[in-house]
Structure formats: structure tokens, C-alpha cells
């Protein structure tokens, strides 16, 4: 593949930005976003009880807020093009798939960045009430920006999967929820792991056979195998290493295996705890910018955008 034509990226980006800001939905969205973040930051007992000019209350809520707001921006990004048939118009012009994906991604990211800029009003409130630390505010907002940027990439992939914007929203929200809950809830890490292994199996099968149907079966098999590893084997290895009594009681335990896997200490689920967005964004809210966290977001975005251009090529199958 040759270089990327930034002129095309910019043309697609500008078209989408105009679309977002050229209709009332965009402004309703902005208003709701400002109201929700303000409510999450200040309309809480904790904020006044702690008597500190910071956004700790908002930090705790932000992953949950973004997991709904970002998919609402991204849901139409590609689904609408497909529904209206304009994808055919766009992709038969002199453009590369990757340029369209980048333009689309920058479009949704631009809309999110504008929303986030307006929500700086929350910092304004803090400055009115007290004297917030500038560095802390900057790192907090950098964290919000990176988390939203990752969610934008998830939402864009979801929008590539369907013609229906509502389905795209649900898929996007589920994808974001997987990362939000992973690490905080053991069942979420396991589910996320099973879904990721399934998706990886589907892509591998597709790469090997070049058939959509085979990829579906491969994905299903991979997902089921991962679920088995999570619910049965994951529990088993932990049993073996931890206590002998548990091994002796293995027969009885087998019936409860599923339930046990949902508790702590599952070796399969633990693998995927590291993907938790909540953990990676936490230090930004404390004023610490870690290279590892930045790489987590940047890497996630890169992988997802690559996946998005791969999905765009699906029309050739």
C-alpha cells in the first residue's frame, strides 16, 4: 500500500463534521453531554463533603457516561452511509479504504473533542468555587480525551458491522462496556476475553480460508473454546495451584464451576484484566500521565482502526 492522501482524509473529515454540526441532533447531543458531566461532577454529596476543587466524582462516572455518549456519536458514521448507498458513491471515487476510515475516525473524534471542550465549563465551575490545580485538570482532560478516542474507534468498528444505526449503537456500547467493566468485575474480564478470542479466531479463519461463513464458524468455535477455558479450565488451574482440598472436592466443585468462575481468582479472566479502561484512565485523574497508559490507548486505537479498514474491505467478499 502506498502513502495516505491527506486531502481525501480531510475532505471526508470536513464532510462529516459539517453533517454533525449541520443538524439539530448535534446540538442536543452537546447540551446533554455538558449537563450530564456537570451533574456527575457536582450534584453529588461527595463533592461538597470532601471540600476539594477537583473532578474526582466525575472521574468515577466518566467511563460509564462515555460508554453511552460516544457510541451515540459514532453509530451513524458508517451505518448511515451504507443505508443510504452513499458508501458506493464514496468508495468508487479515487480514495483508499484507509483514507476513508481515517477521515471518518477524525470526524467522530472531532465531534467528541468539541463536546469535551464545551464540558470544560466544569473546570470553570471549579475555578469559581475554589482553586483547582492546572496540571491536574490538564491530565484529567487528557485522560478523558484518550478514553473517548478509544471509544470512538470501538464505535466506528461497530458502525462498520451493520447498516442499522441502532444496532451499531448497541454493539458500540457493549464493546465499550467490556473495557469499562473488565478488571473491576471478574465476569466482565472473562466475557471480554471470550469475545476477543472469538473475534481473533474469526479473523484468523477468514485470513486462512477467505470465506465469510467459515470465519463465522471459526469465531464461534474460538469463542466457545475461550468460554470453556474461562469457566472450566481457568478455575481448574487455580484449584490445582491454590489448595489441595479444593482438588479433592473437585467432583463437587465441578457443579459449581461456572459460579466459581464468576468470582475472583480465575486465571483466564485475569489475563484480560489488563485491558481495563478504568484502570488505565485512573492515574490521569490523579495528575499522573504514565507512558504505559498512553500506549494502551494509542495501541488500542491503532488496532481498531486497522480492523475498521479490514471490515471496509468486506464488500469485496
Amino acid at each position: 500500500m502506498m502513502g495516505i492522501d491527506l486531502g481525501v482524509v480531510s475532505a471526508v473529515f470536513r464532510k462529516d463534521m459539517r453533517q454533525y454540526l449541520g443538524n439539530p441532533t448535534g446540538y442536543v447531543f452537546l447540551t446533554l453531554f455538558i449537563a450530564t458531566t456537570a451533574a456527575a461532577a457536582f450534584l453529588q454529596d461527595g463533592f461538597f463533603a470532601r471540600n476539594l476543587a477537583d473532578l474526582a466524582e466525575l472521574n468515577a462516572m466518566m467511563p460509564a457516561i462515555l460508554m453511552f455518549f460516544v457510541p451515540a456519536i459514532t453509530m451513524g458514521a458508517w451505518a448511515e452511509e451504507r443505508r443510504g448507498g452513499t458508501d458506493e458513491l464514496l468508495l468508487t471515487m479515487p480514495v483508499r479504504d484507509v483514507e476513508v476510515v481515517l477521515g471518518k475516525y477524525l470526524g467522530v473524534l472531532g465531534m467528541y473533542a468539541i463536546s469535551l471542550a464545551f464540558s470544560l465549563s466544569n473546570v470553570g465551575v471549579l475555578m469559581y468555587l475554589g482553586d483547582p490545580d492546572t496540571g491536574l485538570m490538564a491530565s484529567t482532560y487528557l485522560g478523558y480525551l484518550l478514553m473517548g478516542a478509544l471509544f470512538c474507534a470501538i464505535g466506528l468498528v461497530a458502525s462498520m458491522l451493520t447498516k442499522n444505526a441502532t444496532v451499531a449503537f448497541i454493539l458500540g456500547a457493549l464493546g465499550c462496556a467490556g473495557l469499562v467493566f473488565a478488571g473491576t468485575q471478574p465476569w466482565a474480564s472473562g466475557l471480554l476475553g471470550a469475545a476477543l478470542v472469538g473475534a481473533a479466531a474469526a479473523l484468523t479463519t477468514f485470513a486462512l480460508t477467505n470465506k465469510g461463513s467459515a470465519a463465522g464458524i471459526g469465531g464461534l468455535v474460538g469463542g466457545l473454546a475461550a468460554t470453556f477455558a474461562w469457566l472450566v479450565a481457568g478455575r481448574g488451574s487455580e484449584t490445582a495451584t491454590e489448595t489441595e482440598t479444593a482438588t479433592e472436592a473437585g467432583a463437587e466443585a465441578a457443579t459449581e464451576v461456572g459460579a466459581d468462575a464468576l468470582r475472583d481468582g480465575n486465571s483466564f479472566a485475569d489475563l484480560f484484566d489488563a485491558l481495563s479502561v478504568t484502570d488505565h484512565v485512573a492515574s490521569f485523574g490523579e495528575g499522573v500521565v504514565r507512558l504505559g497508559d498512553v500506549l494502551y490507548f494509542a495501541g488500542g486505537i491503532a488496532v481498531l482502526l486497522y480492523l475498521a479498514s479490514f471490515l471496509l474491505g468486506r464488500r469485496h467478499w
Partner: protein, 261 residues
Amino acid sequence: MSEKDSPYRTPSDRPVTIRADRLSKIYGQFAALHDVSFEVRKGTVAAFLGPNGAGKSTTMKILTGFSSPTSGRAEVLGIDPSDADTRIELARRLGYLPESGPLYRDMTPQESLEFVASIRKLDGSAKRIDDVVSRCAIGEVLHKPIDKLSKGFRQRVGMAQALLHDPEVLILDEPTSGLDPLQIREVRALIRELGQEKTILLSTHILQEVEAVADDVVFVYNGKIVFAGSKDELLESGSIEDRFYDLTEGKKQTNTKKGAA
């Protein structure tokens, strides 16, 4: 059947601009196209004729590089449209009006044309836009949202977009569908005028359209080519309507007989 002894060859010494060589497209178990071969020569207007669902749009999507064939090879202006890298060069020289003329409905025709000009990086885009606006007669609706336009105007906006870069080849998927008789007349006149200088492949299921605009006819039915040649050849043995039924219903009956036997 090798390419050389293919009966589907336009009797002409002009160079071939569009070539479909044994194209097949299979979705799951369903063969949308089966061994479709035909040629369109430079400077001709070819009608891609066939009933709805015959495989016309599938073929056009392959020729424009939107989709790829399961097997076989397409070539437009000597370029393989399913090759991701060379396709860009083809897209610069090809104008395409997809089926039912999709447009960005919340834009005005002016914005839409500006968007296409910016993607295509056209020099002197304002002049080019003026030119296609007058050619397609959309001046009076230039600043109204496309969503509010009549189907006839929308189709003409789609034509204007396809013509904006002055392409050598035009592929038009049912350019007159949904238009009223007056608009159909205008679009056909425009196609005839464009046909003086460009190679055009247009799909249709309307027989009069073939008589009105086409030099050559490629007739596709159930994903297979049943006739390809000049319009006069098609009409040699009776009216176009009779030929249409011979080539479609007639086929069906022989197929059923074969199935029964």
C-alpha cells in the same frame, strides 16, 4: 469457451474500453453472476439489458471496483478495478451513477458537488461545477437540500456528480428509473449527447431505452449473458419485445424442461 471464440463480441474495430471476462459472483450458495463475458468498445453507448435481479448492478459494482468478482477478470480502460492500487487511477477516469442515485441528502447540490470536487482534487472546480450544473439543468435547485428535491432532480444531481471530472467512461445504473416521461426524455438526450465523446455502459430493463440510446446491447438474464451484439443484430429477428421474451421466458421454459428431464 475461450475468449477468442466467444460469440459475444461487438463487430467493430475500435479498441475495447470495458471488458468482462468470465465474471462470476457467488454469495453463499447463490450465483448472482455466472461466467459473464462481454466487451464495450470505445465511443459506443452500450445498454446492459435484463429484467430486475438479472445481475446488472452486481456487474456494474465489479466494473467500478466497489466489489470484486468471485472468479474471472474485469478490465476498464486496461485497468483491473479489483486491484486496490490501480483502481485509484481508474476511478479518476471513470464516472459512476450507482443504482437509485444515492446522494448525501442533507447537503445541497452545490455542497455535494464541492465535496466530490475536493475528493477528486479538481483544478478550477468552480468552472467545472458551473459546467455540469448547466449541462444537467440543476441550476434552480443548486442551494436547496437534496432531501427536498424531486426524484428527477436528484437523479440529475447524481449525473452531475458522475460527470464532474469529465470522465472518459461512464457507467450508469438505471439512469432513468423513477423519472417521469419528460425527465426520461431529457436524460436520454443527455446520454446521447455524452455518447458522442465518451464510452457509456448503462443498465436498464426498459426496452424503449435500448432503442432510444444504445448502439450495442448486452443482455443478461439470471446472471448469464444471453445476447451480446449490436442493437441492429438484436432487432434483426423481430421486435425488441419479442426478443426480450424469447431470451427470458423462452429460456425459462427450456430450463424447466431440462429440469424435468
